[in-house]
Amino acid sequence: MLNTFKYTVLSLTRVRSVLFWTLAFPIILGTIFFAMFSNIDSSNDFEPIPIAVINDSNYQDEAAFRQLVDTLSETGENQMLVPSFVKEETAAKELLKDQSVVGYYKIETDGKPKLYTAVGSGADFSTSINQTILKNLLDNYIHKSSTINTLMEENPLTLMDPAFTENLYEQNSYTNEISITANKASGSIRYFYSLLGFASIMAAMIGMTAIVRTQANLSALGARRAIGATARAKTLVATLVAAWLVSYICLLIGYCYLSFVLGINFGRDALSILGLGIASFMATGLGACIGTIPKLPEGTKIGILTGLTCLVSLFAGLYGEPAMELADNLARNAPIIQMLNPARLVTELFYSLYYFDGYEQFITTSLFLVAYGLVLLFIAATFMRRQRYASL
């Protein structure tokens, strides 16, 4: 069993076509994406937004807003704003005009903060993203402070609960909100998630190749191995584990290339690596499933798998804006199809790591993918276990 494992790993890592599709191709595609996007958005690291704040008596009166601006301006990882305090609105307008700030906050006479930004079409992509972020920040603040006001009038006791107020003012809740906005705007990260999805499905090629070589009805080698004195189950388990390992390694290499060479930040590395393991498990199941289809020659199966990968990747939004819209539409209108789309699932798995602070989404998607892999393996097993055939 150990030998089957060893030699399956050895042989798989030497199959050139497999290495091309599962290793080289995603790396090439990633490099192309990187070259395409590097001038659109500089990176997914968030750059604090330069803003003017009119520091007049109205501003001094709004302690809560002052607190917000100060918190968001604290230097460090979570810094969102680089404020320039000015006394007069005219000074703020000057700064806005020579584009040293994206906008300015002003507390109106009624005590409500307001955002002023440059109007017109001159704004470039990143400026308009930043404007949106500033606006969202403010809306959020207004929404929450009005909640507090209402509560103060109706149910002041709630405010005594420290957990509640903490929640309201917790800076994290702002950064969270903001980071969603930021990443939606810097859309290129989506391509790389889709790419991971694509690479994972391509990795099914490995499981497929490995399984074809164990099936007596599919290859002379499979027939020869079936006559050997090693139990069928052992051969299959060793082969599948080997295929899983090799596809996992291929994905890890691709991931490391994207992450360390191209410098793409996928969020939480440890969990991403776990995610790749899960994705490659599902891919091995998929490969085994396609691999065991009787009568089709291996070349045709490679074709089927390549085509399938490209198709599911289309619906996972690999090919740019329109495809992403298509993916989103499909998710809304035909949720079942998208739920069963392995590329979409893998894409979502990594998404969830980046977008959500919690693990719920990640765990749910992971479990679904594992279950998916198991179902595929189960289907494959009904074919794989066979030892005798009516014809070879």
Binding site: L10, A220, L221, A223, R224, G228, T230, Q387, A390
Partner: protein, 311 residues
């Protein structure tokens, strides 16, 4: 006890009847040769025996026990050199042999010894690091053989091991098979080359269209047919009168003349050639070269099926 006992095996591929009540009994120590033209069902028979193919009827017993796909204990005693090359393209010669050895032998040290012996046996010492793609047709056949016999099985199936092999490799393969047999292995050998079968088979079974035509030792098979000898004589001028005279000889079965050579098929018996030459001399014909061929398995096949074995 027979090592292989196949009784009334019937195998159909949809409409095609590939094996029609096929029977085969092989004793320990034999080189049992299965001879028949391409498509007669040799590989099908082997694949049924090894439980790769389902069959419609019949019983298969190996080493006195019923064979099923799960009988790994029986499989351990069997070696197989399949007709189609079955090796890993990406593994080297040594890795391939070691892989197949590991299907039967767990112990690492023992395996190493066996692998070295197999490599030496097929003469691939200079190629141990080569991938199969880099080997010539003859060498790759030898690798295929090494993979099949590395675990020193008691019973070895060779399915057309000499197809597409140069004469030198062919001879060394045949010598190798004899050596295995001498060291105690029972051999099942299939081929559509009668010369090979005559050379190595201790017992021969001839089959056609899934049916057994005849079986026995080489001599037994030849004794089965009436014609013992084919005589070919170069004669320049021969008329019909002379031909008729030849045909009337009691031991002559068939006469054929194409204005240059005379072919005479004789019945079994002694001194056919002498009596024939005597007659020709009495007819005062100019005789050139004379060839006399003992009967071949092809003649047996021809006699029994009405078609030539060679294609």
């Amino acid at each position: 006890m027979e090592i292989v006992a196949v009784e009334n095996l019937v195998k159909r591929y949809k409409e095609l009847l590939a094996l029609d009540h096929f029977n085969m009994k092989i004793e320990k120590g034999e080189i049992f040769a299965l001879l028949g033209p391409n498509g007669c069902g040799k590989t099908t028979a082997i694949n049924c025996i090894l439980q790769l193919l389902t069959y419609d009827k019949g019983s298969i017993r190996l080493f006195g026990e019923e064979m099923t796909p799960g009988r790994y204990d029986i499989k351990r005693r069997i070696g197989i050199v399949p007709q189609n090359i079955a090796v890993f393209e990406e593994l080297t010669v040594r890795e391939n042999i070691d892989y197949f050895c590991a299907l039967y032998v767990k112990d690492k040290h023992e395996r190493k010894k066996l692998v070295n012996e197999a490599i030496e046996f097929v003469g691939l010492e200079d190629y141990t690091k080569f991938r199969p793609r880099k080997l010539s047709g003859g060498l790759i056949r030898r690798l295929n053989i090494a993979c099949g016999v590395v675990h020193k099985p008691e019973l070895i199936f060779f399915d057309e091991p000499t197809v597409a092999v140069d004469p030198q490799s062919r001879n060394s393969i045949l010598e190798g098979i004899k050596a295995f047999n001498r060291s105690g292995a029972t051999i099942v050998y299939t081929s559509h080359y009668m010369e090979e079968v005559e050379e190595i088979g201790t017992r021969i079974m001839i089959m056609d269209h899934g049916r057994i035509i005849a079986s026995g030792t080489n001599n037994e098979l030849k004794a089965m047919i009436g014609n013992a000898e084919k005589i070919q004589i170069e004669i320049a001028d021969m008329d019909n009168v002379a031909l008729e005279q030849l045909k009337s000889l009691p031991f002559v079965q068939k006469v054929c003349y194409d204005s240059k050579t005379l072919d005479v098929t004789c019945a079994a018996g002694n001194n056919n050639l002498g009596r024939l030459l005597e007659k020709l001399q009495s007819l005062q014909l100019n005789i050139g070269r004379v060839y006399s061929d003992p009967p071949t398995l092809n003649d047996v096949f021809l006699e029994l099926t009405g078609t030539e074995l060679r294609d």
